[in-house]
């Protein structure tokens, strides 16, 4: 696999895993390995992005992703500015493109954006020369989440190629599911998605996955299961009985795991709904890597911040030559 080493990251933005090659994904993961080592040092900071400015532009409330990016950027010595749209001119009706251009006018190098509209990151990236990192756009993609999931899997099981990975939960409305599917398939995993019929989006098999409506089937023989958050808070009507019903039919419990591989890796992008998609025993059990995912998120996001900044600098130098 020497060819991997010769790959250079050339993209200014990270919009989704659908748009990356296997080699590019592997490059992010191997770069993240080096940065993980940094996070174990006593002084957890490197000067890689010193003098660079990174903006967290969040159109949706988020704590964990925003904080993870902020920690990652700070460990690379970048200056970080957080903009939440609750307190910005977006409230006054400014368009996304105008917001982007105004941020860019502050000579910002990278914009990390979370937005409730699918495709918002692509739209922003077309209009600014700063790097854009998609921190989740609508139901579309959440690439750094999938990258940290894959990083964690690789760390636990030594490889991605040939692994059987199941993704369970609201597939239809999940950006985490889409990014994981594209990434895992590109890296050679066998992916099964599991949800009630109504939460399986049309044509998903064309992404290369198997589909099941039975959680036991999804768990049987799987090397890992990624359990998604059920967003019942979107739909308040009769939420409680529906939650119980979901837990009974699809919840990942100790009993269900007994029939799965003994060392099945259990992941969750958080925040967990204990007793809805997963029981507390499983969330806190020996198979769970949920907190390791959080730790690995820093290394993966450091890698992404570093790679896009480097590529953008090269692009700008080429343009001024």
């Amino acid at each position: 696999m020497n060819t991997r080493k010769t790959i250079v990251w050339t993209k200014k933005d990270l919009l989704g895993l659908e748009y990356l090659s296997r080699q590019e994904i592997e490059l992010i993961l191997s770069t993240a390995e080096s940065f993980k080592e940094v996070t174990t040092r006593q002084i957890k900071k490197v000067p890689a992005l010193r003098g660079k400015t990174v903006v967290n532009l969040f159109y949706e409330p988020s704590t964990r992703t925003r904080v993870s990016f902020e920690v990652a950027a700070k460990r690379l010595s970048a200056d970080v500015i957080n903009i939440s749209t609750e307190t910005s001119s977006v409230k006054k009706g400014e368009t996304l493109v105008d917001t982007g251009k105004n941020i860019e006018a502050l000579k910002v190098d990278t914009i990390i954006m979370r937005h409730n509209c699918s495709g918002a990151a692509a739209m922003l990236a077309r209009h600014v020369s700063a790097s854009v990192i998609n921190a989740g756009d609508g139901w579309h993609e959440h690439p750094t989440q999938a990258l940290l999931d894959m990083f964690t899997l690789k760390e636990k099981l030594g490889r991605i190629e040939g692994l059987k990975v199941s993704i369970a939960g609201d597939i239809a409305h999940s950006r985490v599911a889409r990014s994981n599917i594209w990434g895992l398939i590109k890296l050679g995993a066998e992916v099964t998605v599991c949800a009630p019929k109504i939460l399986i989006p049309p044509g998903i098999e064309k992404m290369g996955v198997k589909v099941t409506n039975n959680i036991d089937e999804a768990l049987a023989g799987a090397d890992a299961v990624n359990v998604l958050r059920m967003q019942f808070e979107r739909d308040q009507s009769n939420a409680f009985p529906k939650q119980l019903e979901y837990f009974k039919t699809f919840g990942v419990t100790r009993e269900r795991l007994k029939k799965a591989k003994k060392d099945i890796v259990v992941m969750h992008p958080g925040p967990i709904n204990r007793g809805i998609e997963m029981s507390s025993e499983v969330a806190d059990g020996a198979n769970s890597v949920i907190l390791e995912q959080v730790t690995n998120g820093i290394a993966v996001r450091m890698a992404v911040l570093f790679l896009v900044a480097q590529a953008n600098e090269r692009l700008k130098n080429e343009n001024t030559d």
């Binding site: 495709g119 950006r175 989006p201 064309k206």
Partner: protein
Amino acid sequence: MKILIKGARVIDPANNTDDVRDILIDGAKILKVEKTIAAQADNIIDAKGKIVMPGIVDMHAHLREPGREDKETIASATTAALRGGVTSILAMPNTSPCIDSAESIELLKNIIRKTAQMNVFMCGAITKNRLGKELSDITGLEKFGAVAISDDGASVDSDEIMKEAMQHAKKKNILVLCHCEDKSLSADGVVNFGFTSTRLGLKGISRESEYKRAQRDIRLAEETGARLHITHVSCAETIEFIRQAKKSGIKVTADVTPHHMCLDEEAVLEYDPNFKMNPPLRGKEDLAAIKQALKDGTIDAIATDHAPHTENEKEIEFDRAEFGVIGFETILSVAITELVATGVLSWPELVKKLSYNPAVILKVNKGALAPGHDADITVVSPDKEWQVTKEGFASISKNSAFLEKKLKGVVEYTIVSGKIAYQRG
């Protein structure tokens, strides 16, 4: 004032003409179409190597005036249309005010009279404010000149109201033009339902939402005997229903837009709102069915669905952006590039779809080059290439699906009622 056009390949499907001819125009009418005309004229156009065709009759366009003059005006729209070789337009009623009464259509008629640079025909609304609840004043609309009725993007849900509207239309002998969409099936979709909507994480608009409504409208046309026109057909199933209806003698016609006849859903993958339209761009098999239907005559016409939008409403998040694209200035070139140059249609077949058939469907005295006809004529260099740019558009809005595309076919002259209304600079 006489104009003599010399030496062009004249294509006039109404009279089965496709040959080198001279055309003499006298006043607003065509005087002669002959092998060689040696008459005196005030203006002689040497059209050797060019194609001369009856001006395009665009039977589906949004001119935005009155109400949204920031997007387009009748003056700007008709200026743009002239550059595209269009000489007649059917204006949709979704303006503000909505064209649903004698008063509102008179208002529109006045603006047209003062500012239009070509024939603008009017389409009245089927229901008041296009809300689908109460019939508009169809008699009044017809009296003031409406040649068609349509609720445009708001397909009438009630069978009874639609049936009643068709009965009125039948009595007045005006066309019923339908954007077929059952909103209970399309919900708030923005792209084709299926793998594309899944891949993009956007809500889908199903094909059922179109073809089920088309099926109903065809049934009502059969029951009432009204003339039904299904506009901007997007999917294979709808085409099949139209094909069967035509076979059984129901009075139904159909058009397709330039974008639906050459683009498919993959154009949307980068979330560029210039590919967001309703109906959405569909699959490859639909595109193939559309081309086949253009060939076999199931689709009678090509119409722009010219839908200007400001950048503020278009260059924004995909699911918040307005539907639709502009089309006047590219309709002919896109058709030449995508249909004639690729062998889907011959030139005479194309002229039929652009000019002759829509005139026949609307029952207006256009679309032909015979002596005595209105002198609405387009002169085009068929092989000359050009590139579409935002800066090049005369439309106030720039939301085109063909930006940066290289197209074949350049309009040299557009003549309206015997006057050179546009000449390429």
